[in-house]
Subunit: 443 residues, 2 copies
């Protein structure tokens, strides 16, 4: 019988060996091998960095798995050596290897070239070989940065008295109804996958006042566009005791400001590898939907149609206007037509037919939809009836209004879309680890 | 056109009003009203606490929504008043109200009694009225604490160079196969819900070295027991460059130690409300499966059967033994029979027929399954063939082994089960916000 002892942390693939001063252990995958006469340069891809190791002929010991004693790109190794300053190497240092141990061998050359600065393959090739293509430093930097985006979202909200929740993804009915629902069989009962945590986060406002969730949502949309995924990560929050939807917008703006600072401070390596220009989140301009449509007609000669939404081209133009004329890469559009918003959206009593509802546009794309929700029981019942919904189908949902709900509102922020726009990528599939679209459900 | 300004945080439902020293604003739901002659005591349930407000007849202003000017339990209010020390009140203070504003009214009495110290209703009643029952201070404390468990898990792993990932939940095949898969229709193709992030977290070890995920998993198990849920939150991690499965077990033990300290430091309020006795996570004893079976026969007269697993009663007895004889509420059982473990489990070459696989038992229940995985390509292909699986069905998965995978291992820790055991609850449904079982898919 043995017992378990504590274990020291491994910091980014390199740690002190403890046997000699300056002696370190580097663990990682061989990214590139370059032989220069009697010296071999072996670049190791560790968890986050590339570390250059130098092996002098006859000056190191090799133990390994291959009978011929060779080293190959893709092999996983443990190098023990002396860390020395070297301004020309990544990170300003290199490791002079005393021993290199092959822990595991690669059996084939990678299907995409991992050790060129840019991954030159097309998106389909990248996605077909996703588990390997993600090993490319730039590809994986996208997801290291994604970690930072989510961390910043949680940090900011936790510090502001929001409680994190986990709502169910298998449900008996879609929160927002409609056709875009994935159906499944639940022990012989019809069920579906949650399109959003909407009804649950509202329920939880009645419990904790302020809540958030970062979790997958599922949309059976048949659009196969560059900005749609059928499964994506939604960063949602919902807050009670608001004075109006402006409180929700304020919170989003402050959260985004914190997020950009957080990324700058903690992910400079990835930001520089991906050549990201972070936006300044100053005061975010706000336009009503009607004003936006008028502006589009006036400034860009767009025909004002009866369509109650913004089309992709209009989103691009509004962002262009905001950036050029208002100095902001973000712009809020508010007061969308009620007819285009869900049953829980609160209508503006001073502007009949329009809802306290907003979108946040960023660099040409909608990344958030949010708004104030109805909190009064009778008002919610009446609105359901007006929309042809049957209140008795919403018994659990309406129980929260019946037993007291504070004025509240919230939003959903699509993680992959936000990051796609931050990084200036042209397809949202780049920012989803294993994207799901109409045609793709593997790997 | 308006612009957005930063907004001050609301701290746990109480904040300075800014108009007078000691004047505060309390926002929350009326938890209890008690009239004592000319004084009304109104207890407000804020986001995390109960705050006692005192209203002296004629000494405060009431603005509100009810025509009769009444206040009712369940109403959401904003109280402005003076904070004064009061040792007999919760938190050691009370607020002497100058004004109380009714923001929203409750239309009915709650279906369960929210303002008694204990919620006396049975589990079925609690679950049938879940959105309201969660408002009870003890019920919601379970989920405030749950937030802390997840935070601690993430903090510890992030600080130890693990990267957080988001793997897809809609997949083309179950990672571990078997019958317990929820099937769905994916645009005319058969698909299923992920039973675990197993194959994805292994793929991501090849990318980041160490990864973790906290996300829902879906198990179509027909067991309707007190410890099964059909959708639950799995806290998973997977780590590369290990020397053996002991590294994984060490990491879990250290993480749990951190978690208990973190809860003690940040959730004392909930721990005390729920009367939780946190376990001491010292050196966790380790028993091999065979040794455990022998011990059960020797100490408790259990018949040793050919069954390659531990049954619930055996888990209870092993924990009892561990606590009484070894001084630990946790115990690792290792080296389970290979035949009972999945295709990716690495076998112990020195103990044929047994795998480098472990369970962690805690207070009578298995809360974790983990182990070392096969990293060598040929070894994985051979094992699949021996198990009657077709390697070509696992092309994406095997690509990670083919192109180089470090020795690695990991585990999954069931959030709801861990918390159920921490809190000494007798049903895992208590620790799931909106539990899903064979019969329940609402609310």
């Amino acid at each position: 019988m043995m017992t378990i002892k504590g274990m020291g942390p491994l910091q980014e693939g390199i740690r002190q060996s403890g046997s000699a001063p300056d002696e370190v252990i580097v663990e990682g995958c061989i990214h590139r091998i370059r032989e220069m006469g009697k010296v071999i340069f072996v670049v190791i891809r560790t968890s986050r960095s590339l570390i250059q190791c130098v092996l002098d002929e006859g000056g190191y010991q090799l133990t390994g798995l291959r009978e011929d004693g060779s080293l190959n790109e893709g092999d996983c190794v443990r190098v023990t050596g002396i860390k020395k300053e070297e301004p020309r190497a990544f990170g300003g240092f290199e490791v002079h290897g005393r021993s290199i141990e092959v822990l595991s061998v690669a059996n084939a050359l990678p299907p995409v070239s991992l050790n060129k600065p840019k991954l030159s393959s097309g998106l389909d090739v990248i996605l077909d070989h996703r588990p390997i293509a993600l090993r490319h430093p730039q590809q994986r930097a996208i997801f290291k940065l994604q970690e930072g985006i989510v961390k910043a979202f949680r940090h900011y909200l936790s510090a502001n008295d929001f409680t994190e929740i986990h709502s169910p993804k298998t449900t008996s009915a879609g929160a927002e109804g409609g056709a875009n629902i994935f159906k499944m069989d639940y022990f012989g009962q019809p069920a579906c996958l949650a399109q959003s945590p909407q009804i649950y986060k509202q329920m939880m406002v009645g419990v904790f006042g302020r809540v958030f969730e970062v979790a997958p949502v599922f949309r059976a949309e048949k659009h196969n566009t560059t900005r749609h995924l059928n499964e994506y990560i939604s960063m949602d929050f919902e807050m009670g005791y608001i004075k109006g939807m402006e409180d929700v917008m304020d919170t989003e703006a402050a959260m985004l400001r914190y997020m950009m600072d957080y990324l700058k401070e903690n992910y400079s390596q990835e930001l520089s590898l991906l050549k990201v220009e972070l936006p300044v989140v100053g005061e975010i301009p706000v336009l009503k939907f009607k004003e936006a449509k008028e502006l589009l007609a006036r400034e860009y000669g767009r025909r004002v149609t009866g369509n109650g939404d913004l089309d992709p081209e209009e989103e691009v133009l509004l962002c262009q206007y905001s950036k050029e004329k208002l100095g902001s890469e973000f712009i809020f559009i508010t007061h969308f037509p009620s007819s285009r918003r869900p049953f829980y959206a609160m209508d503006d009593p001073n502007d009949p037919g329009f809802a306290f509802s907003f979108d946040l546009l960023f660099r040409g794309l909608e990344i958030t939809t949010g708004g104030q929700r109805i909190h009064d029981y009778q008002q919610q019942v009446t609105k359901m009836q007006e929309m042809g919904l049957e209140p008795s189908d919403f018994e659990h949902y309406l129980s929260i209004h019946k037993h007291g709900m504070p004025p509240h509102g919230g939003l959903g922020l699509g993680l992959e879309r936000l990051e796609m726009q931050l990084l200036g990528l042209n397809n949202v599939r780049y920012t989803s680890l294993f994207p799901r679209d109409v045609k793709r459900i593997t790997p």
